[in-house]
């Protein structure tokens, strides 16, 4: 006797499974929307009875300020400045972090020697260095770019080193016996093994580059989104402050989504926690 699967059982199971997945997704998505909308509604209609709206503004006013900023061209110009500075700092930080890590890893004991300094530097709040850079380099883009680069560099550096050092010893030994020389080992084993950790670090650090740039702008600047926020806060224009924050968040999220998409395409097996 051979077992006969009742016709349609598999198809039924598949259909039921797909339906439950769809329902699940709809529930989660509905929850997300409902939460967001209720927060906005609360802010718009109820928050005023607890806190003076002068301090918190309303979503509608924030949207209005956003439109006003956009109309005058202020938004585009300042967002452009901030994005340019952040991107420059980000690229510098990523490059220096990657190159530094691999140079260090070609030495035998380099990492052990450097480690205490890396940890010390890790525990310095980089923002505390901003006044120094502004004193040295003035109000132009340089201190922003440098701060952004610093915020990025260490994370990329540490994650690259950690990714390479986490490669399984047994795997490395076997590949060495297979005949791999140093450069081949790097190309065939270390780089691909560390790629997910590196990519994850490279992805999450764009947000940090933005943070570095905006923080420097908040302290002293003549243009950029940070400047827009400070300027508005001096005039007690809460709605515009919020508008600036919204724009920054939107920019960071857009870049993150884009990089996630690239990452998924390039490293389908990659999805790792990041040491940050």
């Amino acid at each position: 006797m051979t077992a006969v699967i009742a016709p349609g059982v598999l198809a039924d199971a598949l259909r039921r499974h797909e339906r439950s997945v769809r329902v699940e997704r709809a529930v989660v998505f509905g929850g997300i929307v409902a939460l967001g909308v209720s927060v906005l509604l609360f802010w718009q209609f109820a928050l005023g009875s607890i806190i003076n709206l002068r301090y918190v503004s309303t979503p509608v006013d924030v949207a209005r300020s956003l439109l006003a900023l956009a109309e005058t061209g202020d938004l585009l110009q300042n967002a452009g400045v901030t994005m340019t500075e952040a991107t420059a700092g980000y690229l510098i930080g990523v490059t220096v972090g990657l190159v530094g890590a691999f140079l260090l890893l070609t030495t035998r004991r380099g990492y052990e020697v450097l480690e205490p300094y890396v940890l010390a530097f890790y525990s310095v709040p980089k923002i505390a260095l901003a006044p120094l850079f502004i004193m040295w380099f003035g109000l132009g883009p340089s201190p922003k770019v440098i701060l952004a680069a610093l915020m990025v560099f260490l994370i990329v550096f540490v994650n690259t080193v950690a990714g390479v050092r986490a490669v399984d010893r047994g795997l490395v030994d076997v590949v060495r016996v297979l005949g791999a020389r140093r450069g081949q080992l790097l190309r065939v084993v270390f780089l691909p093994a560390a790629a997910p950790a590196i990519m994850a670090a490279v992805r999450v650090t764009f947000a940090r580059a933005m943070v570095g740039t905006v923080l420097a702008e908040l302290i002293a600047s003549t243009e950029g989104l940070g400047y827009v926020i400070v300027r508005a806060s001096r005039q007690f224009d809460v709605a515009t402050v919020f508008a600036g924050v919204v724009v920054i968040a939107a920019l960071v999220m857009t870049v993150n989504v884009a990089m996630r998409a690239v990452e998924r395409r390039v490293f389908p097996w990659a999805s790792r926690p990041v040491h940050a």
Binding site: G170, L171, V175, R176, V177, L178, A180, R181
Partner: protein, 275 residues
């Protein structure tokens, strides 16, 4: 035969491990180990866990150096990583980001064999172990047995004359293990490399080996050597029905049991001595 240079040889080898960090305390893993394998011989290494079997293979692969004594491959001292041997471990150690074919080609690639040649040889071996059609699959898409076949042919494909195998079938289920033993025997009979085969499975050791060395418990040294005179080719599926099997199995087992007991008594004494 007796006059030819052994394919591999350990001569009065000692190996101490110091350990790392604060708990560092020297440990003698191997004590005066001497053995040799003739070209084309299949040698089984058995012994209690922790007796230094893997360490012997690591010495021959040049991944670690002896504390004293000499480690030789065709009469020459092993110094540095020995890329002339094949090394197959318990983990299959395939590269997850390379397809089956690209994994099998790895050794040929490193050796600078011309590309068309790699492809041809790799495909030939893939066919030989029945993996044809899976060339483009990644390791995580293959079963444990398929991965193990891949890791074995990855080594055999570059024509090494000495193959070190460290409990290669350890993680496999019982059925797959016997099937792979049969396949390994066939592959071995094809090119007759020298094989050093570490296993904790005495049946497997008997089924495959020409000679078996039994290690003492740590510090490991060779306790006894057995010839396995069962006729070849052997039917690994019914090896336990072969005449001579039972006696050999019992002898091996009683040797190992004695070593395990000795080690346990040593531990007890050490504990009592420290009171």
């Amino acid at each position: 035969m007796a006059t030819s240079t052994p394919a591999v040889r350990l001569r009065n080898v000692y190996k101490a491990f110091i350990g790392q960090g604060r708990t560092a305390r020297p440990l003698l893993a191997l004590e005066d180990v001497s053995f040799a394998a003739r070209p084309g011989e299949f040698v089984g290494l058995v012994g209690p866990s922790g007796c230094g079997k893997s360490t012997c293979l690591n010495l021959l692969a040049g991944l670690t150096a002896p504390s004293a004594g000499s480690v030789e491959h065709h009469g020459a001292q092993v110094a540095g990583v020995n890329t002339k041997v094949g090394y197959i471990t318990q983990d299959d150690n395939l590269l997850p980001w390379r397809s089956l074919l690209a994994n099998v080609e790895l050794g040929l690639e490193f050796r600078g064999v011309p590309r068309e040649e790699w492809r041809r040889r790799a495909l030939e071996f893939i066919e030989l172990v029945g993996l044809g059609g899976f060339e483009g699959h990644y390791p995580h898409e293959l079963s444990g047995g398929m991965r193990k076949r891949a890791s074995i042919i990855r080594t055999l494909v570059y024509d090494t004359d000495v193959v070190l195998m460290d409990e290669p079938f350890g993680p496999l289920d019982a059925q797959t293990r016997v099937i792979l033993q049969a396949e390994l025997q066939k592959l071995w009979e094809r090119d007759r490399p020298t094989v050093l085969f570490v296993t904790h499975d005495l049946v497997e050791a008997i089924a495959l080996s020409d000679r078996i060395f039994v290690f003492t418990s740590r510090p490991g040294t060779i306790k006894r050597e057995y010839r396995v005179d069962l006729p070849r080719p052997r039917d690994v599926f019914r090896i336990h029905e072969t005449t001579g099997f039972d006696d050999l199995y019992d002898a091996l087992w009683s040797d190992i049991r004695a070593e395990i007991q000795r080690a346990r008594q040593g531990e007890l004494q050490a504990v009592e001595g420290s009171r």
